[in-house]
């Protein structure tokens, strides 16, 4: 269990900071991916796609 509680605020700050930055990083990575996917989708909608994928249509 949580021990003597002498430094609880330091532990809380440490875990909170790690959580915020790590989740922020995950959020950024996901946002970046979705942004690029949206760009590709917009290009695809405009009929611009790679040669390999153009033939399949």
């Amino acid at each position: 269990m949580i021990g003597d509680g002498a430094h609880v605020e330091f532990i809380a700050w440490a875990y909170a900071g790690v959580a915020v930055l790590t989740l922020g990083l995950i959020g950024y990575v996901v946002w970046d991916l979705s942004r690029v996917k949206a760009r590709l989708a917009a290009l695809d909608k405009a009929g611009i796609r790679r040669r390999s994928e153009r033939d399949a249509q």
Binding site: D4, G5, A14, L33, V36
Partner: protein
């Protein structure tokens, strides 16, 4: 040269490249790396759940550090990753320069911000650990100082990636910077240690640290694996993002060319 226009020689069947080259092809990478994402996500989620349970509810107080051992469970994994990620970037830099591996500079670009965040977290948790244990947030001691310099190197590499328009050229040039940094890091570590002993003959704490009992090691190991799995997951996703981004860039270029020509 007896090839006449009407008797074109049949295309020779392409020699099948070995499995390593096939893994390396960006298109192939997009195919097979898809199957890594969910397993890695699940593994890191489970490891984080178990590790956090251990570190909050099942961790004994160290007789020296008391409750503060809990900070160690997030500090050490980030400190490990800060160096591991740079080692990975240096390896990919070799891949770029020596083998012109098409995925290597993608890996370098993907890893740099991740490494910077882990290094920043290592410094942040280190400062919070230091305050109650040594009475100061920041100590100009060898390890903390060289980690700070490592963060600066990461940030420089990120700034350089952002400054280049031509990403292929950027890959080779940044690989050189990454390698120069990798060769320099031991020198920096050594010089900072030397400087530190010059100015602080009586060290505040010993670098070796106390011997760790098994009960502390278990949560530490699990958290380290959890963070490493998370890094692996983010690295794969970012590499896929980067490949797709380059594909989108070249498609937009083609579209602009055709639009201009028509």
């Amino acid at each position: 040269m007896s090839v006449t226009p009407d008797t074109k020689p049949a295309l020779k069947p392409l020699k099948q490249p070995n499995w390593f080259s096939r893994l390396a092809h960006p298109g192939q990478f997009l195919v097979w790396s898809r199957y890594l994402i969910w397993p890695l996500a699940i593994i890191s989620a489970v490891l984080f759940a178990v590790g956090l349970w251990f570190s909050f509810f099942n961790s004994p107080d160290d007789y020296q550090m008391g409750d503060m051992v809990r900070v160690m469970y997030v500090h050490v994994p980030n400190a490990w990753l800060s160096q591991f990620v740079y080692a990975l970037m240096a390896a990919s830099a070799l891949g770029t320069l020596v083998w012109r591996h098409p995925l290597a500079d993608v890996a370098n670009k993907a890893a740099a911000p991740l490494g910077a965040v882990f290094t920043a977290l290592a410094l942040y948790t280190g400062a919070l650990w230091g305050r109650p244990t040594w009475g100061t947030f920041w100590e100009w001691d060898g390890r903390m100082t060289s980690t700070l310099v490592l963060l600066l190197i990461y940030l420089g590499i990120i700034a350089l990636w952002r400054a280049f328009d031509d990403q292929l050229k950027a890959g080779r040039i940044i690989a050189i910077v990454t390698l120069v940094g990798a060769l320099n890091i031991p020198v920096i570590k050594f010089s900072v240690d030397w400087w530190n002993t010059l100015h602080q003959p009586a060290s505040v704490f010993t670098a070796s640290g106390p011997r760790m009992p098994m009960s502390l090691l278990t949560p530490l190991l699990i958290m380290t694996l959890a963070f490493t799995a998370l890094f692996g997951l983010l690295q794969v996703v970012r590499m896929r993002t980067e490949i797709l981004r380059r594909r989108a860039d070249s498609l937009s270029r083609q579209a602009a060319l055709q639009g201009g020509g028509a």
